[in-house]
Symmetry: D2
Subunit: 425 residues, 4 copies
Amino acid sequence: MDAESLRLAERFLPSTYLKQAQDADISRRSRIHQLLEKRKCPDEGWDDQMIEGLLVDLSKMDSNNFPANCGVGERESRIFSGLVAQRHYRLGHGIGRSGDISEIQPKAAGSSLLNKLTNAMVLDLIRRIGIRGTQACLMMPMATGMTVMMTLLALRDSRPQAKYVLWPRIDQKSCLKAIVTAGYQVVVIENLIEGHELRTDVPALQEKVSTLGPENVAAILTTTSCFAPRGVDRLEEVAKICKEHDIPHIVNNAYGLQSTKCLHHIQQAGRVGRVDAFIQSTDKNFMVPVGGAVVAGFDAQFIEHIGKMYPGRASVSPVLDLFITLLSMGVQGYTSLMTQRSEHMDYLRTRLREVADSFDLQLLLTQNNPISTGLTIPKGVGTELGSQLFLRGVSGVRVVVPNQIKTIAGVTLKGQSELCIVMIV
Amino acid sequence: MDAESLRLAERFLPSTYLKQAQDADISRRSRIHQLLEKRKCPDEGWDDQMIEGLLVDLSKMDSNNFPANCGVGERESRIFSGLVAQRHYRLGHGIGRSGDISEIQPKAAGSSLLNKLTNAMVLDLIRRIGIRGTQACLMMPMATGMTVMMTLLALRDSRPQAKYVLWPRIDQKSCLKAIVTAGYQVVVIENLIEGHELRTDVPALQEKVSTLGPENVAAILTTTSCFAPRGVDRLEEVAKICKEHDIPHIVNNAYGLQSTKCLHHIQQAGRVGRVDAFIQSTDKNFMVPVGGAVVAGFDAQFIEHIGKMYPGRASVSPVLDLFITLLSMGVQGYTSLMTQRSEHMDYLRTRLREVADSFDLQLLLTQNNPISTGLTIPKGVGTELGSQLFLRGVSGVRVVVPNQIKTIAGVTLKGQSELCIVMIV
Amino acid sequence: MDAESLRLAERFLPSTYLKQAQDADISRRSRIHQLLEKRKCPDEGWDDQMIEGLLVDLSKMDSNNFPANCGVGERESRIFSGLVAQRHYRLGHGIGRSGDISEIQPKAAGSSLLNKLTNAMVLDLIRRIGIRGTQACLMMPMATGMTVMMTLLALRDSRPQAKYVLWPRIDQKSCLKAIVTAGYQVVVIENLIEGHELRTDVPALQEKVSTLGPENVAAILTTTSCFAPRGVDRLEEVAKICKEHDIPHIVNNAYGLQSTKCLHHIQQAGRVGRVDAFIQSTDKNFMVPVGGAVVAGFDAQFIEHIGKMYPGRASVSPVLDLFITLLSMGVQGYTSLMTQRSEHMDYLRTRLREVADSFDLQLLLTQNNPISTGLTIPKGVGTELGSQLFLRGVSGVRVVVPNQIKTIAGVTLKGQSELCIVMIV
Amino acid sequence: MDAESLRLAERFLPSTYLKQAQDADISRRSRIHQLLEKRKCPDEGWDDQMIEGLLVDLSKMDSNNFPANCGVGERESRIFSGLVAQRHYRLGHGIGRSGDISEIQPKAAGSSLLNKLTNAMVLDLIRRIGIRGTQACLMMPMATGMTVMMTLLALRDSRPQAKYVLWPRIDQKSCLKAIVTAGYQVVVIENLIEGHELRTDVPALQEKVSTLGPENVAAILTTTSCFAPRGVDRLEEVAKICKEHDIPHIVNNAYGLQSTKCLHHIQQAGRVGRVDAFIQSTDKNFMVPVGGAVVAGFDAQFIEHIGKMYPGRASVSPVLDLFITLLSMGVQGYTSLMTQRSEHMDYLRTRLREVADSFDLQLLLTQNNPISTGLTIPKGVGTELGSQLFLRGVSGVRVVVPNQIKTIAGVTLKGQSELCIVMIV
């Protein structure tokens, strides 16, 4: 309803009723203006109607939705199925251009603006929840593993000789695959056992850098969020080594945005040492379907460089999910979920301790892991316990078995921890 | 995207791309302006995106969707289920006010405008497809039977004494119920058999008027669209009688809007005699779900009076369906469906004649029924034929049985026609 | 996914994963079985996915959605617009048949089942929240006013002579219209002022019955839910009079289902006297869009009779909204909303008392109105206060002006109460 | 509605009506059974209701939609926004596992089955429209450029030394980026000018292979679909060279699936020589939003190997779009679109020839390009013509300028063709 429509509507309705509707619309519009002007995630979440209204407006800005469009190119965003058109709000052009994932498409002003706004909101949110020094971020329409890989590939230009990636061990397949598929050789740095916890062996890492020669090290890949009994890597110390030896430092912060501790370590590491990029999954941190990741960093140019490596366009779908979710949550929604998560963790620890006391087990003492906890369990009950929990609808529990040997992407890993069962909140 | 938003969007996108999107939007807006200004059904149908865009705009004009609304009344359009809110585009206030179905609601400017526009479009369409003299119409959010009843109730004021409704017989329950529930006494005028056809017995009708006394006749209720072998009523002749004796004349045009013949007879009847209202079902004429009817007439005041009889608000849902459908069809879409229907009828007649020739049956010759046709069939095969067709997925066929006696709402009717099987296109 | 599909899916997935999915489905299915078997509103609400799943299943049972359907009748539920089809889950046949609003349609088994289940759930809910003696109910796809009118029309058969409806006054237009449009004469029984409250003048009513003669009284129409300072009618006493004199008693319980007090009075009145039907709005009691009402009673036959008066089919849309909402709320959801409403009322009274104390006004003492409260205000500030509240987004407030004279449907009413401003929670 | 539900529904409806609904469901079910059993794209497209029904069924099989699920892992598919959940049919787990993009997820049987079925349908379709020898295909949830890159990365294992990718030039940025980002060196093979056309310089290619040494060539990357005046590469001859010298051959078939000519060349090349993989964009070939590609080949093991390179999970969204679209189109829908496209091309050529004749221009004679055509234009009018067309809503036209020099990803390219304006159908 533009001004002219409202004027014409006076032929049907008293102007006072229209005035009232128009007034109500002002607050909606002003929130849109603020979003565009401040480039910030709104403090308070929007309702669904406002979000859909903006999406429809953005969608109308894409050429495939122009009333009189005659496409004679190969990329005209023709959509066959009405179901598909509708579920994407008729956005079909994707994001990026051949050259750059964050470049604007002339044919798709709406999708491009959506992408820019989403990135702006994520950047604002990351800063406000704790990593204040963040200079840039890039929403990648692919999951964390692929994003780690793309980030590693982006390092090759400046360090064509370097072929090793040093990796304080974490028993997770994707990041290992990411290194190997990017064409690098993985150098595993085994963790130290400290009480129940597994922590970064900084001296071993330091020594490896010397042995291999810093110039041959493409990057050190550390991890924040992980399953207990492993703790957050000693990011600050690794960051200092990286700074000293001029080695890129990539942080796998897969599900760490939701934890103030992980955020704090990244912020500190960036302040006292070197962090080139930290990467987080959108599904785990923003409660959207699997399919996106955010790579962020303290040097805008490097983040931009990653975007420029991307060959071709990409799906707008994960961006759209994040756009909707951030507008819907607002910063307040996000931080209250963080608080809630932390309370849930306290609750879980309390109740697990009760279980531990009753059955003579031990709660894992992993103060350096803010996200995961667990119980040591007697030999032989692991698998059964796991399947019992599963039958009761408890999904996601892991049973950690000591001395178990696995080979992933050519790298052999042997279980270090005690037998335990672990959970994440 | 208002002007200010577009200005602010220039911080993200080149202004040329925004200009192009803005230009594309002009043709969309101008169609909305035309709708509001001309109050006409668009010639060419709109695409779904345009329709939904306008619906969202209208919905925002209702107070339940105002960003800061605090309701302390009993009608605040609170909607519990998100599924329900969404399927109604968050329109919840219904239409009308206690006093009048077509009155504007101060709390629901959007719903009210939607209602006004729908009525304006229907009126325009009815005029353009054939009943040029139509002065007013009213979309009623209830089906044809109820609308006939409400129309009859609206007559009582001006003719409090009259207790008879004269009714050239049609074997359809709802209209009979409508008369009886409205508190009138039905006077059945049996049809004349002319060849295969059943036609209005005008002399008998005339005589009944004299016998009962015109002042005691509340209305004559004629019918256009019906199953063969009955034909369209002799509307013009009945209309003349009504005019002469000052008797209200209501036409049940249930599914007759789609037929030029029915339209023609109503237009003529209104010209040469008296037609107070003609009523048509929205599901049958506009391909929407069951639940609405349009009452139209040559005297705007009477139509208004019907609206003013309505006690309370009503569902906006049937109006919404019609609004969407008329915008989506456009006048061109409607007339091309009319042509198509007529071609289908020719096709059906041709093929049925082939069947008739092969099996020694007879095609019903019912030139006064433009909508329905059928075959006379040998005794004893009716029921079986019906169920055979049903098993083959052919629904809607009727088997007409002669001499069958039915009692509906206290009125006893005996089958007049030959045994036949009939279909509608 | 039927058993055969799951068997075939084993060609793609391990059977254990399929087993797990199948197990999960059992609890969903069992809730559907329970619904069909027990005919009760579920205790706990269902999630949207379950509800939509059931709707899709029901929709597939209607003939317009049969894969190979060839319609040759006039009611084939053809839907033109995809938007319309989708928002109705492709249900198009409406409910009821010519003869009866609650009759089953052979072409629409799904819609018919939906209608039956909705009525069963409403009946169960009404019983469980307080009117235990309810024998039958009927969801009418039209708002309260129309439903009151239809109920009054249904009385005519058995009392053809009776022409008066006695009506303890309530300043609400629709019910007055309902009486007048149904063809009855309204006899207003003015209320007694007791303190701040307006209460039924039982002696006056009794006298009027005697004066007019009970056999000439078509019905007494009482009201439960209303704006302060009027209180709930003295239902029990009126019910006794009705029983004694064999006069039908209709209760307008427009928004009273949500109040235990209103429920209690209806239940008691039914126990000690006569209540033929009590009628409630679905939008106000169930938080759905305007457009439906429920007529319920202690005598199943009379309720059935109302359904049988209905001429023709009706929209399934209000039924669908209620179906979705009841499944989504569950009985627990409904009762917790009742509790919440009551708490809100306490809160409102407390805060209004503070306002009253500060500004030397008086909180209306209306202990017989559980739903509405207000403040007496000084002369001359009414209109301004109203518009000030409106500007602050507070909708629904009413200013009651003493001695104001209004004429509705030919009936003249003069304001009785003190000047006050009232709200509903 | 399972059998038990239908049995229970008999309490509400006559069993004959239920039987009829059940019968109608059989044909729906049998189509689902066929899909699962035959693993083929249906011949005839499904309607939206059937497609959505199956999607809901699949969605229910994912653990996040189990009625009683308690997630204590990091990947539990929690979805914050209802809008997001709904647009993905509540599928949130993505596809693939850390190790392999086509691996099944235990927590997401539905998503996994969806993925398998989509791949099976695409494979079937590719075979039936022309590349009969195709052994395997893999839908990648990323666009063509990224998929080319992943395919090139997958070659490294078996040819760790090879560092060159030979590339018969095509002026398109993404494929160039794909090679460079994958870490290879691009060796441009300039095309030969033959009449208006640019065609593969096979001798030059052959010579380059000799010069560099076949063992140093990682792959030859050819192209089928492209803008005129370039033609389809001489695939068969290149394939023979690849076979002879044991060099991998990747075909960029970006929008070539819709052209019988492109299909024919790939099929032939696979028969007479070596083709390791051919890659096509889903948006361009299947009319879905940008974001997916299909890599297919004549050796199932290599295609599988590509899948196993993928680090981590991926978005199910592009798979979902393709699933819906293939079911909706059916093979018949696809082939009729192919025919239509070809007719449109004939029409465009005819009308362009008329333009050419009127303005003394020349239609590009590019018989080896079945998809694109154009006109040679006089000097100086290119840009203006382009913008004139753009203003008239014609998008996608390209102006090819001779001798223009561009540097992409470090590779310098100089325009070879005559000045012309080209279009694609």
